[in-house]
C-alpha cells in the first residue's frame, strides 16, 4: 500500500526484534471472539486516479455551472490563489496544536496575527484563536454571558440565523438556561418595543445578529442602551464578515460571535469554517477556546505561546469554560492570509462592491410587477423580497435554467412562504443578475 513505508522483510525484522512470531500475537489482548476473522466489507482499495475519478463524478452530480443567489450565513467571495497555496505547505497543514512552542512559532505567530485582525475587524479588545464555526461560537458566547452574569435567561432575536438558534437550544437545554425569542419589526429588525416590555433583571444576554438573517443591519448602539442598564450583556453574531469592511463594528457588544467563512474560506457544503469569539479584555478569563500570547525567551527574543490555558478542558476538566479542544487553525490561517492580501483598501472595496451589486439586483427586482422589498431596514449584500407566489415554485423553474434562486424563508419562518432571501456578492456578474431578473419576470407573468 502506497502510504505504508515498510517492506515485507522489514516487517519481519521488526516482529523478530519484538520477539513475536506473527503480528496476530500483538493483538492477543483483544479477546479472540472479538477479533475479526474476515476482511471488512469496504469499497476499495482505490488508486489515486480512481479516488479522483470517484470525487469528480460526485462533483458532476452537484451544481457545477449553476448561478446561485444563496447566502444565509455562507457566502461566495473572491479568493486569491495565494492562501490555498500557503495552507497546503506541509509545515502548516500537517502540524498539530502548537503545544511545543519552540517548534511551532509559525502557527503561533499566525494565530497571534489572526487574533489581532479579528480585534481590528470587530472593534473588540481580545479575540480567540478560533472556534468551530459561527453557530457554535454564538452558543459559546451565550454560555459565556451566563458565567459572567450568573443569570440563566437568554433573549434571542428571531432575526438570528435559525440554525444558530437551534444549536443554542441544544446546548442550553441541559445547562438550565432558558432561551426565549423576541420577534421582529416591519423594518426586519429586532422588535425594540417587545424588548422594552420584558424585564431584563434576570437576563444574562440579549443576542442579535447584524446584518441579521434577513440581511438587515440592527441598531446596536440603541440596543446597547436598552440592554446594559439592567446588567445584561449584548451578544452580537456576525455571519457576513465582509460587511465589516464598510459597516460600523459592533463596539457596543460585550461579546461578538462571528462566522469567518467569508474571509477566504470555500463554502464546501457547510464546512469546515472558522468561528470567532471577540470580547472585552476584562472578560478574557471566561472566554472559551485557545489563545496565543506574546512573550520572550531567556535571551529576550520575541516568541509566542498558548496562554491562559487554565480555562480549558485539559486542565480544568469538568470545570472548564467549554469542552472545545480543537480550533480551526488552518482556516484561521487562510483567513489571515486572505485579509493580509486584501488589506485596508481591498476589504473596503470588496464590501462596497457587495453593497452596489446587491442594490442593483434589488432595484431590478423591484421593477417586476408584484415583487417588492419585504423589510424597510438598511441591508448590506442580502435582502428579502416578497413575491406574488410561493418562492419554492419560482425556484423550481429557475433551477431548470441553472439558477439557484432565493432561499425560501418559509423553510424557517412558516408564515413567510412568499418571501425569499437573496444574496448578491462581488462574484456575481451583472449579466447573471439580469438573466435572473428576466427569468423571474417571465415566470411570474405566467398564470399559476
Amino acid at each position: 500500500m502506497r502510504y505504508l513505508p515498510k517492506s515485507p522483510s522489514e516487517r519481519q525484522e521488526m516482529l523478530d526484534a519484538i520477539g513475536v512470531k506473527s503480528v496476530e500475537e500483538l493483538f492477543q489482548s483483544i479477546p479472540a471472539r472479538f477479533r475479526l476473522k474476515d476482511p471488512l466489507r469496504l469499497p476499495g482499495p482505490l488508486s489515486e486516479q480512481e479516488i479522483i475519478g470517484y470525487f469528480r463524478a460526485r462533483a458532476e452530480e452537484n451544481a457545477r455551472g449553476y448561478t446561485s443567489f444563496l447566502g444565509a450565513g455562507v457566502y461566495q467571495h473572491l479568493r486569491s490563489v495565494v492562501p490555498d497555496a500557503i495552507v497546503q505547505r506541509g509545515e502548516f497543514l500537517t502540524s498539530y496544536t502548537p503545544y511545543q512552542a519552540e517548534i511551532s512559532q509559525g502557527t503561533l505567530a499566525a494565530i497571534f496575527e489572526f487574533q489581532t485582525l479579528m480585534c481590528q475587524l470587530t472593534g473588540q479588545e481580545v479575540a480567540n484563536a478560533s472556534m468551530y464555526d459561527g453557530s457554535t461560537a454564538l452558543t459559546e458566547a451565550a454560555l459565556m454571558a451566563e458565567r459572567l452574569t450568573s443569570r440563566r435567561r437568554v433573549l434571542v432575536a428571531r432575526t438570528l440565523h435559525p440554525e444558530y438558534r437551534q444549536v443554542l437550544q441544544t446546548y442550553a437545554k441541559h445547562l438550565g438556561l432558558t432561551v426565549e425569542e423576541i420577534g421582529f419589526s416591519g423594518a426586519g429588525q429586532l422588535d425594540t418595543s417587545a424588548l422594552s416590555s420584558v424585564s431584563l433583571a434576570d437576563v444574562a444576554a440579549v443576542v442579535v445578529q447584524s446584518p441579521n438573517f434577513f440581511g438587515v443591519l440592527e441598531s446596536l448602539p440603541a440596543l446597547a442602551e436598552t440592554v446594559h442598564p439592567s446588567g445584561a450583556l449584548l451578544v452580537t453574531a456576525i455571519t457576513e464578515a465582509v460587511s465589516l469592511g464598510l459597516v460600523c463594528p459592533p463596539i457596543e457588544a460585550d461579546i461578538v460571535a462571528m462566522e469567518g467563512q467569508s474571509l477566504g474560506v470555500a463554502p464546501s457544503y457547510g464546512g469546515p469554517y472558522v468561528g470567532v469569539i471577540a470580547t472585552r479584555e476584562k472578560f478574557v478569563r471566561q472566554m472559551p477556546g485557545r489563545l496565543a500570547g506574546q512573550t520572550a525567551d531567556a535571551a529576550g527574543r520575541r516568541g509566542f505561546v498558548l496562554t491562559l490555558a487554565t480555562r480549558e478542558q485539559h486542565i480544568r476538566r469538568e470545570k472548564a469554560t467549554s469542552n472545545i479542544c480543537t480550533n480551526e487553525a488552518l482556516y484561521a490561517l487562510a483567513a489571515t492570509i486572505h485579509l493580509c492580501l486584501l488589506g485596508k483598501q481591498g476589504l473596503r472595496e470588496m464590501a462596497a462592491q457587495n453593497l452596489a451589486k446587491a442594490r442593483f439586483a434589488q432595484a431590478e427586482l423591484e421593477k417586476i410587477p408584484g415583487v417588492k422589498t419585504a423589510f424597510s431596514g438598511p441591508t448590506f449584500n442580502e435582502f428579502v423580497m416578497e413575491f406574488p407566489r410561493s418562492v419554492k415554485l419560482i425556484n423550481a423553474e429557475l433551477l431548470r435554467e441553472q439558477m439557484i434562486g432565493p432561499l425560501p424563508l418559509g423553510q424557517f419562518y412558516p408564515d413567510q412562504t412568499k418571501r425569499g432571501l437573496i444574496c448578491v456578492t462581488e462574484t456575481m456578474p451583472r449579466e447573471e443578475i439580469e438573466r435572473m431578473v428576466v427569468s423571474m419576470k417571465r415566470i411570474l407573468s405566467k398564470p399559476l
Binding site: 478569563r285 490555558a309 487554565t310 486542565i315 480544568r316 470545570k319
Partner: protein
C-alpha cells in the same frame, strides 16, 4: 518558617485571628507546590462561606487549585493587590499576599485547626512521601 500565631489546614491554608476577624492565606508549602502563580480569583466582599467551602482559585500556568475556607464567616475584605501582582503569592505568602479577611461566625472553630508545630510536622511527612 510557619508563624506561631497562625493556624493551618491540611489543604495548606493559614488563618490568623484578630478579635472577630480572621485573615486567610495559603502557606509557603502551598505556593511552592503550585509553582509560579499567574492568577488569583477571590470572592466578592459580603460572600458568606462555610468551613471547607471553596473561596476562590489560584492558578499557575498549567494548574488550577481551589482554596478552601478554613472556618465559617463573611468576607469583609479581599486583597486587591493580587489582581495585578499574583507573583506576590510566591514571594510573601504569609504576609502581604494574604487572600481574604473574614468576619468569623464562630471563633472557636479555629481551635480545631493545626498549630504551627503540628503543621510543620505534617508537611515534613508530606515531603517524605513524595521523595519516597
Amino acid at each position: 518558617m510557619y508563624p506561631a500565631d497562625f493556624r493551618y489546614t491540611k489543604e495548606h491554608e493559614w488563618i490568623k485571628v484578630d478579635g472577630d476577624t480572621g485573615t486567610i492565606g495559603i502557606t509557603d508549602y502551598a505556593q511552592h507546590e503550585l509553582g509560579d502563580v499567574v492568577f488569583v480569583e477571590l470572592p466578592k466582599v459580603g460572600t458568606k462561606l462555610k468551613a471547607g467551602q471553596s473561596l476562590g482559585t489560584v492558578e499557575s500556568v498549567k494548574a488550577v487549585s481551589e482554596i478552601y475556607c478554613p472556618v465559617a464567616g463573611e468576607v469583609t475584605e479581599v486583597n486587591a493587590m493580587l489582581a495585578n501582582a499574583p507573583e506576590k503569592l510566591n514571594q510573601d505568602p504569609h504576609g502581604s499576599a494574604w487572600l481574604v479577611k473574614l468576619k468569623l461566625a464562630n471563633k472557636s472553630e479555629v481551635q480545631s485547626l493545626m498549630d504551627a508545630a503540628a503543621y510543620q510536622s505534617y508537611v515534613a511527612e508530606k515531603d517524605k512521601e513524595t521523595s519516597a
